[in-house]
Amino acid sequence: MTDTAQAPGHSATKRSLIDVLELDIRLLGMLVAFFAIAVIFTIWTGGTFLIPRNIFNITVQTVPVAIMACGMVFVIVSRHIDLSVGSMLAMCSAVMAMMQAYWLPSLLGLEYGNPLILILTILIGLGAGTLMGAATGWLVGYQGIPSFIVTLGGLFIWRNVNWFTTNGQSVSLTDPNLLMFGGTEGVLGAPVSYALGVAASVVAVLVILAARKNKVGHGFTVKPMWAETAMMAVIVAAIMMFVTWLSRYPIPPSKLRRMFEARGETVPEGYTAMHGLPISVLILILVAVVMTVVARKTRFGRYIFAAGGNPDAAELSGINTRLLNVKIFALMGFLCGLAALIAQARLQSHGNDIGMLEELRVIAAAVIGGTALSGGVGTIYGAVLGALIMQSLQSGMAMVGVDTPFQNIIVGLVLIIAVWVDIIYRKRMGITK
């Protein structure tokens, strides 16, 4: 590698397709793995794996882990770890469940179903997560206790404070509004989903074109227009296919009947309705987009990566690395609260073991997604894809009748193999970090 290796546009003819498209090899690898899993299970299940209902379920089940994995990327990139996310999820879930079932109705005298219950429950749940995370961050950043220890302690503490909060009882979600975050109970229907798909496609294209224009404006080389167009086509196709697929999952007639009866009507002859995008998936997409922007385009994100790449350099550059740690863990806690909202809504109740062992899935998702435990390297989309790969694998195995213990063994092996392949790839490419 020398200075003169790449004069812009100089050796364009010799560059491979991957270079021209400026594709991320790791992303490509994950997509290949994901498609391989999809193809194998589609064949194995005789097509059932791919039907809209199953895709819908896999997507919905991925959401809580994927949301937390986005935060875990920041934690691991900054050379920390958070083992307490499963317990924080449980704690947030307990607080929210108690809020909506007992505390808010009795303290404020609110009627069941009052929208104020929904709003306060969510705000307090997210606030609780943020506070727990900030406490972790303060112990790590200002007191210098290793995050492994603080969060290992947190794993025990929050899991059991959760137990005391609910007296060890399960609490069912009595507030009907909260259920909309669970999946099948909160869907946007086909027309709205298509509209959102089109809107997202337009935004994606505009963002790509704006970035290109910005680069040209500063006189930098950009990839050829055909390559840019191809990328945009693939992205738009992926968005629209996803939306179409979820919009082909019909709401069962029995449920339609109940929905109409609730409004004192009867289902018209031949009436059908589709699920479309679940609200929970929309939230995940929003989280992933915001977190990506934070990672790449804000000072906060830049400092997280700098601190992970070289903590001393970050400090010497005048970055307040202590406060940075508080922010990173507070954000992680906030996302645990959000994940709790969705997880408990999907289960329609808070149980003591909600989020149990989830910390390991969250860390695995981030690591499968290419986040390096040595710090400084990681992407949000990788973590989301990592969560999706794990969930697909697990759902697929469940469908073909693999026993749960065996499923977990496979997931464990996949984690190790993913990191192993990555290490081999880095060695081959001569990438040291």
Binding site: A7, F305, N310, K433
Partner: protein, 253 residues
Amino acid sequence: MNRNGQTPLVEMKDVSISFGGIKAVDHVSIDLYPGEVVGLLGHNGAGKSTLIKILSGAYQMDAGEIRINGKKATIENPRDARAHNIETIYQTLALADNLDAASNLFLGRELVKNGLVDDAKMEAETRKIMGRLNPNFKKFNVPVSALSGGQRQSVAIARAVYFNARILIMDEPTAALGPHETQMVAELISELKAQGLGIFLIEHDIHNVMKLCDRASVMKNGELVGTVNVDEVTDDDILGMIILGKKPAHLAA
């Protein structure tokens, strides 16, 4: 030392710091005037890097006083030092290996547009300054871990020079450089000096010290051996100070 009635840019008076039992810097006083290059010399472990890290805010002194432009200054962290227009090229370079040249150059001082970091603008600025400092430099879009020692050094130098420092600290800036690049750094130092900057230069090559510096302060075992005007001494005088730890006889008075 109050030359021509000028106020010193920097005065460090009776500065001390210990790590555990080791007195890394022991009652050292040095100063620096505008348009002046002061060399800091001494064996490895003499305390040079530690002394300048106190000035750059990386360490807090146990005792002593720092004055900037004649006024007492409190430098508790690197942000304080930057606020006093002190820029530092650390011996370790202090680069985040996983970030590219522009991100490192602007680390902690990113250019922001609409609340988001303006990477294109920062890269353009980086290209400008690198074009001046190291015209061969082409690797703007790779992490600095992929750069050679010399290239990394030029990124660290660019970062110190870009922000219009008044006081520049260079801790062995030519350690990883070849003869040609070393020559370019020498020219840069002369240029900055002509612009009126004060520069602390830690440098092992006596020849370079004699060529670039106005004064030289020699340290040994954390203590200041003495400060001499470079044009009043020979190479051997300075070597004697470094090795023997005392001023040559004809200057001792």
